[in-house]
């Protein structure tokens, strides 16, 4: 049985769709302005049938997953050392501050010049955005560790490896996940911007294509897919957070 919250949410969505369908049919003669849900659905079906949907969705997903996963590894690694060693933090700080403050729109043209309009440039955009977020948050988590846990580690004579993997990294985990969550949202924007500017596949490419051909149903489909992807990745991160840090359900610390 669906929960009460979910049921209300679904009813709300269907009511909204019905209203949207009725209003567009009654009031608008030109589908270009706002297409009714039925024609959005039809377009979605057509895109799926021709394999276009798969191609573009998979391209964006692939870029996203590649960039995100490498960003996790590099971000946690660098963040850990930045948190542990002040000198490394000082060395990295100006570069990260610069990278962090360059708006993604200004950054993309260079990446495209250097890496072309294919997937690699998008992977790099996703990587840059996410890695910085994860790095900064991991470093903060490592720095802010509760000193009594370090005393505990010393008192139990844990070796350096145990100290890292059993005390410091798990302690920083909530920060790391926060970094990932921030990264996901920004990287989503980044990859779409990059695809809008120059690409031969991906949802951003589809968006530009639809916009240039005045194909509003297709535009709508793309926007919906983007929304779905965003929601999906957030849900995944949230699930991962609950799995990795179950004590955070009720404990606030």
């Amino acid at each position: 049985m669906l929960s009460k919250e979910l049921r209300r949410g679904l009813v709300s969505i269907f009511a909204g769709l019905a209203l949207w369908e009725i209003l567009t049919r009654l009031l608008l003669e030109n589908e270009l302005l706002i297409p009714p849900p039925s024609s959005v659905l039809r377009t979605l079906w057509e895109l799926g049938a021709t394999g276009q949907l798969n191609k573009h969705l998979l391209a964006t997903l692939f870029e996203f997953v590649c960039g995100f996963s490498t960003a996790c590894v590099v971000g946690i690694l660098f963040g850990y050392f930045m948190g542990r060693y002040k000198w490394f933090d000082d060395v990295m700080d100006p570069w990260i501050a610069t990278l962090y403050s360059i708006p993604v729109v200004a950054f993309v043209p260079f990446i495209i010049i250097w890496f072309g309009i294919g997937m690699v440039s998008k992977v790099i955009v996703v990587f840059k955005i996410t890695a910085v977020a994860i790095m900064l948050n991991t470093a903060a988590g490592i720095k802010n560790i509760d000193p009594t846990w370090l005393e505990l580690s010393k008192s139990l004579r844990l070796n350096p490896r145990q100290n890292t993997f059993k005390i410091r990294l798990p302690a920083a985990l909530p920060y790391i996940v926060t970094g990932m969550r921030l990264g996901v949202g920004r990287a989503m924007l980044g990859v779409i911007v990059a695809e809008l500017m120059a690409a031969n596949a991906g949802l951003g490419y589809l968006l530009r294509d639809a916009s240039e051909t005045w194909d509003s149903p297709k535009l709508f489909v793309t926007v919906l897919l983007l929304a779905g992807m965003g929601m999906g990745s957030f849900t995944l991160i949230k699930k991962a957070e609950q799995k990795l840090a179950p004590w955070r359900e009720t404990a606030e610390w």
Partner: protein, 265 residues
């Protein structure tokens, strides 16, 4: 009878203060603790009791003086796990279950099977079997302190150092925990150094009560507790208990006055 388990000789800890005389936390502490003895240290706030325990455990180096364990001098390079430290706050790792928290000191030292058996044994000893898979946030303060104790005992230390472990508990829970500690000590016969503010707690639990002076802390006096074991709360009305409590309190009062009076606490 062999020599003492732990012996402190002229142990001193001071911290440098920029451009001034160093700040002396405790000075020339001499103390020896026998096998299976339960020793409490009481003293005015800020007399350096907790720092002493940290130095003994090697969490910070002494400024001078020596620490001997079983006649062997401990140096900074010594990295054997020979002491169990029970922290004031339970300091449990929130991402580990009770069992895994107790396992922390055993991991990599024993086979997984032996380690788990030991951890379960000590959880059982502190009365928490059935709570192996609970996370700390799901347990009360008293239960968290029990795990804290089990974690320190699980590594089978030569000596157990307890730093005001019951200070954060409410009065009722605290009394129960004192009785539990009496029982657990009776069962394990560990050598214990117990730091507390509470004179009655020190007398109830210990074989010997050490009174520390105000800062810089040193051993002012020590009293054997002439009460038979096993003990229960009844001994609190024993005249020897009451007399000892008064004597110790007088001394602490003097120390507090010498340090500048109650208002400075």
């Amino acid at each position: 009878m062999a020599g003492p388990v732990l012996e402190l000789r002229n142990l001193t800890k001071q911290v440098p203060v920029g451009g001034q005389e160093p700040f002396v936390i405790f000075n020339n502490v001499n103390l020896s603790v026998k096998e299976g003895e339960f020793v409490s240290i009481v003293g005015p706030s800020g007399c350096g009791k907790t720092t002493l325990l940290r130095v003994v455990n090697g969490l910070m180096p002494p400024s001078s003086g020596q620490i001997f364990l079983d006649g062997k001098e401990l140096t900074g390079a010594d990295n054997d796990l020979v002491m169990g430290f029970v922290f004031q706050g339970a300091s449990l790792l929130p991402w580990r279950t009770s069992l895994k928290n107790v396992l922390l000191g055993l991991e990599g030292r024993k086979s997984a099977k032996e380690a788990e058996e030991a951890a379960r044994h000590y959880l059982n000893l502190v009365g928490l079997s059935g709570f192996e898979n609970h996370y700390p946030h799901q347990l009360s303060g008293g239960m968290q302190q029990r795990i804290n104790l089990a974690r320190a005992l699980a590594v089978n230390p030569r000596i157990l150092l307890m730093d005001e472990p019951f200070a954060a508990l409410d009065a009722q829970t605290r009394t129960f925990m004192q009785l539990e500690l009496l029982r657990i000590w009776w069962q394990t016969k560990k050598t214990v150094i117990f730091i507390t503010h509470m004179i009655s707690e020190a007398i109830l639990l210990s074989d010997r009560v050490i009174v520390f002076s105000h800062r810089p802390g040193r051993v002012r006096s020590e009293f054997p507790v002439p009460l038979a074991r096993p003990r229960s709360l009844d001994i609190k009305s024993d005249h020897r208990f009451v007399e000892l409590e008064n004597v110790v309190w007088k001394q602490i009062e003097e120390e507090v006055k010498a340090a500048g009076g109650f208002a400075r606490l």
